[in-house]
Symmetry: C2
């Protein structure tokens, strides 16, 4: 039996979206203030667009929204990619590699490696916080039928660590 109350993420649960959105935006603001970084209008705008759905968006989806908003200006890809780069560097959003898409981080500030459950039907993505150890067990627990799992750990191998400084 699936215990729905335990679902680890907002994506598959109803919630007060407005409130959630507002909170994440506030958290982002605070986080940038703390780090003496600028959450500029553009960056905030991109984050807001992404928060509107809590779901993964392609860079060009975001771009389209920007261009719908500012009907006058014609915004170009680099602007979006730069904002995404900034937001990723600060852990405010994640990249979903297997979809070439981006999604807001469910709990910014937490340092754990991002892990996702991606539904290939509804396309919703849940970010899970469990340790890597138990992710598959967790998925099973939730009744999530695992289809394909991508585990990619990037770093520096022992040999290269020796050769470098």
């Amino acid at each position: 039996m699936i215990d729905k109350t335990k679902f680890p993420d907002i994506a598959f649960r109803k919630h007060d979206h407005r409130r959630c959105q507002r909170q994440l935006l506030t958290e982002a603001s605070q986080l940038c203030a703390t780090r003496k970084l600028r959450l500029t209008p553009r960056r905030r705008q991109v984050l807001e667009i992404m928060l509107a759905s809590h779901q993964p968006m392609g860079a060009y989806d975001i771009l389209a929204r920007l261009n719908r908003a500012d009907s006058a200006e014609r915004i170009a890809p680099p602007i979006v990619y730069r904002a995404l780069e900034f937001l990723m560097a600060e852990g405010l959003i994640h990249r979903i590699e297997s979809r070439n898409a981006f999604i807001t981080c469910a709990h910014p500030g937490h340092e754990s490696a991002a892990q996702f459950l991606i539904c290939r039907d509804c396309e919703r993505v849940a970010e899970v916080e469990t340790s890597a150890q138990s992710l598959l067990a967790e998925a099973d627990n939730l009744g999530f039928a695992v289809d394909h799992s991508v585990v990619e750990i990037t770093g520096v191998c022992a040999e290269c660590q020796k050769h470098a400084g």
Copy 2:
């Protein structure tokens, strides 16, 4: 201390490459025979190109090699992508999502989810077979300094399973 003898994969170890290559090719042949599938010249050619390095290659890298080989014909992207699609479907190669690249499977036939250690210095990729549970521990064990870990599990969420047949 890192126990080099335990390194889980060929990528970071010296080995008899020729032999390894030959063996994987034979395994591929046998696997296709068993499944009544055709390892056509093209597919074999792509696999051979990939086996030459044991390292991830972009589709267009493979394409370039094909075009260097058959100096006459001008081979186009779909040909490569189709071969890759076939090889992936049969578990003979994997896709490295975070690199838009492809790599030969280190142990075709084994059904476990593919997991990789990707060195951002030397770009070598080791495929590990440990259960997902202990991957990070394993990396640590090997002296692999984890930089970034992508864990992406795709499947069907409980809700969609209900709505579908």
